[in-house]
């Protein structure tokens, strides 16, 4: 295996750090959205069951805007 020079290492480090930073930012944003959406979905699902109806999952996901970027 060839040894990498400092330019190659630094370029790889830059791209790796950028990828990680962007993934982290989206992951944190996802956590915030999940924290808002998931409990509400669970409450709505349980309420529907208590009222005597098994709801359609896809309809609930659309109503919660959970599919907008999928």
């Amino acid at each position: 295996m060839q040894q990498k020079d400092d330019i190659t290492l630094r370029r790889a480090a830059l791209l790796k750090a950028a990828r990680s930073a962007i993934r982290l930012r989206h992951s944190l944003a996802a956590d915030a959205e999940l924290n808002e959406v998931i409990p509400q979905l669970e409450r709505d699902f349980n309420a529907a069951i208590q009222r005597g109806m098994v709801p359609e999952v896809a309809v609930m996901l659309r109503a919660a805007n959970a599919l907008h970027d999928a």
Binding site: N46, V54, A58
Partner: protein
């Protein structure tokens, strides 16, 4: 079939209640139970309110399981359990007050006592045990009905038919008057409970139904909680 795209499905929710009497001394202060009545109603269907009442023994030969003199709804213990097993077998969810620790285990025990098939596991909504966290306040059905001011939307009178010790003793002797007391008690309980549950749901007081396990959760629990000797 896909959990993501399956169409909405209506659920059959069965509201039910039992009354039982002590039968024998088992361990100190722990009598065995015998069911004296079971009432049920499909949620949202007033006309489905029905009950079975334990008949007193008939000593005429051949009348052990059925006596033509028994009024409608009065049946043998075995028939009462068979009728209820058929109904609960059609339910997706059962609901009642304290059913997880009282009614369902007692019915299952009665099935065992009568050498009948045990109940299946079933999802249950218990208006006592699924209520929000609280302390130092009562949560009996009688208390909740008064607190909520529950009414029946079609105008049928709601009551928690109060039974004194004198009435309970009369009821548990299975006299003609006593059985009528039991009928009134158990049927009014189910009717009132179904509307009380609606009020509790509207206020967000109940957590999600959970699955009651006919086979029990902890193998050792049954013996520990009864105090039975090894």
């Amino acid at each position: 079939m896909s959990a993501l795209t399956d169409a909405p499905r209506p659920l059959a929710i069965l509201d039910f209640d039992i009354e039982n009497r002590p039968l024998t001394y088992w361990v100190p202060d722990r009598p065995t139970a015998q069911i004296t009545s079971i009432a049920w109603m499909w949620v949202g269907q007033h006309d489905s309110l029905d009950c079975r009442l334990l008949a007193p023994p008939c000593y005429h030969k051949g009348h052990e399981e059925h006596c033509p003199d028994w009024p409608a709804g009065m049946v043998s213990e075995r028939q009462m359990l068979l009728d209820f097993a058929e109904v609960i077998g059609r339910a997706d969810i059962v609901t009642g007050h304290y059913i997880l620790r009282h009614d369902l285990p007692i019915v299952n025990g009665a099935m065992y006592d009568n050498a009948l098939p045990l109940l299946d596991d079933i999802r249950a909504s218990d208006t006592k045990l699924h209520m929000f966290t609280k302390a130092d306040l009562p949560a009996s059905q009688e208390h909740l009905l008064e607190l909520l001011g529950t009414t029946c939307p079609i105008g049928t009178t709601l009551e928690k038919f109060h039974m004194t010790q004198v009435k309970w003793r009369e009821a548990n002797k299975l006299t003609r008057a006593g059985v009528e007391l039991t009928r009134r008690r158990v049927m009014s309980d189910v009717h009132a409970h179904s509307h009380m549950r609606e009020d509790m749901l509207a206020r967000g007081w109940l957590s999600a139904p959970t699955i009651w396990r006919s086979g029990g959760d902890e193998v050792i629990e049954g013996r520990l909680t009864t105090g039975e000797q090894k």
